[in-house]
Symmetry: C2
Subunit: 211 residues, 2 copies
C-alpha cells in the first residue's frame, strides 16, 4: 500500500531526478502522485521540504541497496579476494546506474545537487557518500597495501567512481559516438569491461610500487 506521502515523494524524485528541481513544478508533482498542490505543503511544508525529504529517501534507499550487495560478508583476507570484491562493486554500480530506472533518477538528483548544492547534499554526503567512500578505500587498501586514508587512495577511488558516473551523465553523447540506440545489457557489459581494465591495471601498478 502506497500512502499519499509516499506517492508524492516518488513523483518528486521522478521530476527532480529527470528534469531538475527548478524545472519541476509542484502541480506537476501533485498530478504525478494523483493528488493536489495543497497536499505537498501539508505533508512536506513546501517544495523545499520536499527536496529535503527526497535526500533522506535516497539515503535510506541506497542504504538498503548497498547493504544487500554486501550481504555475503566480502572476503578481504587476501589481496586477490579484495580485488574481486572491488570488481563486484564496480559491476553492480554500473548496472544500477545504467540499467535500473531508479538508478538514473537517484544519480540525476545527486548530480544536480553537486552542481547546485543545497542542504540536501549535506544529508546525502553524511548519510551515504562519506561512509561508502571510506569503505571502498579500505578495500583498496587491502589490495595494494597502501594506507586506506592516504590521499592517493582517496583520489584513486574518486577517479574510479567518476568513470562509472560519467557513463551515466554523458549517456546521450556516449550513445551517439558509440552508435548505440540505447544502453542495454551488452552495452553495460562493454562499459564495465573498460572500467575494470582501468581498475586492474591501476591496482597492479600500485601494488608493484608498494613492494
Amino acid at each position: 500500500m502506497a500512502t499519499t506521502r509516499e506517492a508524492i515523494l516518488e513523483a518528486a524524485l521522478r521530476g527532480f531526478g529527470k528534469k531538475g528541481y527548478d524545472a519541476t513544478g509542484i502541480r506537476e508533482i501533485a498530478a504525478g502522485a494523483g493528488s493536489n498542490v495543497a497536499s505537498i505543503s501539508y505533508h512536506f511544508g513546501g517544495k523545499e521540504g520536499l527536496r529535503a525529504a527526497c535526500a533522506e529517501h535516497i539515503v535510506k534507499l541506497m542504504g538498503t541497496v548497498l547493504a544487500s550487495g554486501r550481504s555475503e560478508e566480502p572476503p578481504l583476507a587476501t589481496p586477490e579476494a579484495a580485488e574481486a570484491t572491488l570488481a563486484a562493486l564496480v559491476r553492480s554500480l554500473v548496472r544500477f546506474l545504467l540499467l535500473d530506472p531508479d538508478g538514473a533518477l537517484v544519480a540525476g538528483f545527486m548530480m544536480r545537487e553537486m552542481a547546485q548544492p543545497s542542504t540536501a547534499l549535506d544529508t546525502i554526503y553524511e548519510g551515504l557518500f562519506e561512509g561508502a567512500h571510506a569503505r571502498v578505500c579500505a578495500i583498496w587498501s587491502a589490495v595494494t597495501g597502501q594506507p586506506a586514508d592516504a590521499e592517493a587512495v582517496r583520489l584513486a577511488v574518486f577517479a574510479t567512481i567518476g568513470q562509472i558516473l560519467y557513463f551515466h551523465i554523458a549517456r546521450p553523447v556516449v550513445n551517439r559516438r558509440m552508435e548505440w540506440p540505447a544502453i542495454g545489457e551488452a552495452e553495460a557489459a562493454a562499459i564495465t569491461d573498460t572500467i575494470l581494465r582501468n581498475l586492474h591495471a591501476r591496482l597492479a601498478a600500485d601494488r608493484d610500487q608498494a613492494s
Copy 2:
C-alpha cells in the same frame, strides 16, 4: 570593446553554467550585462535563442582553446611520443576545468545539457565533442596499436575524460572528503597525478595485449 550582444552572451553563460538554464532569469542576465530584458529578445529572439547562441559561443571558444593547445604539432611518430601527447592533453584539460573560471562555466553548461538535452547539445556535439573525441582516439591508437575506431578505444577515451570531468562535477564532495578548502594548484596536481597513473597503467596493459 564589448558589444551589448557579447555582454549578454557572457552574462548568460555565467548564469546558465553556474545555476542552470531554468533557474536563470532573463532579467538577471540583462542586469549582469548592464542592459535590459527587451535587449535579449531583440538580439537573440528570446531565452531559447540565447541558449542556442551560448552553445555556438562555446564551440568557438573551445575551438580556439584546443587549437592553441595543439599549436606545436603533436609528435605521434613513436608510441612514447604519442603517450606524452595524451598526458599533456590530460594536464591541460584538468587545469582548464578545475582552475580556469571559464572552464567551470563551460563545463557546467555542457553537463546540464547532457542531463537535459536540447538542440544546444547537438550544436556542441557536432562542433566539438565528435571531432575532439575522434582525435584523442587517434592518439590512443598511436600508443597502443589498436584501431582508432575500435569500440574498446572509444570507451577507454570516454573513461579517461570521465575521470577528469568528474573531479569538476563532484567538486563539493571531493573537497569535503579530501579536507580541501578549495582546489588550487597543489590539489589540481594531485588529481592530475591520479588520472595519469590510471592512464599510463591502462595504456601499458593495452600495449602488452596487442603484442
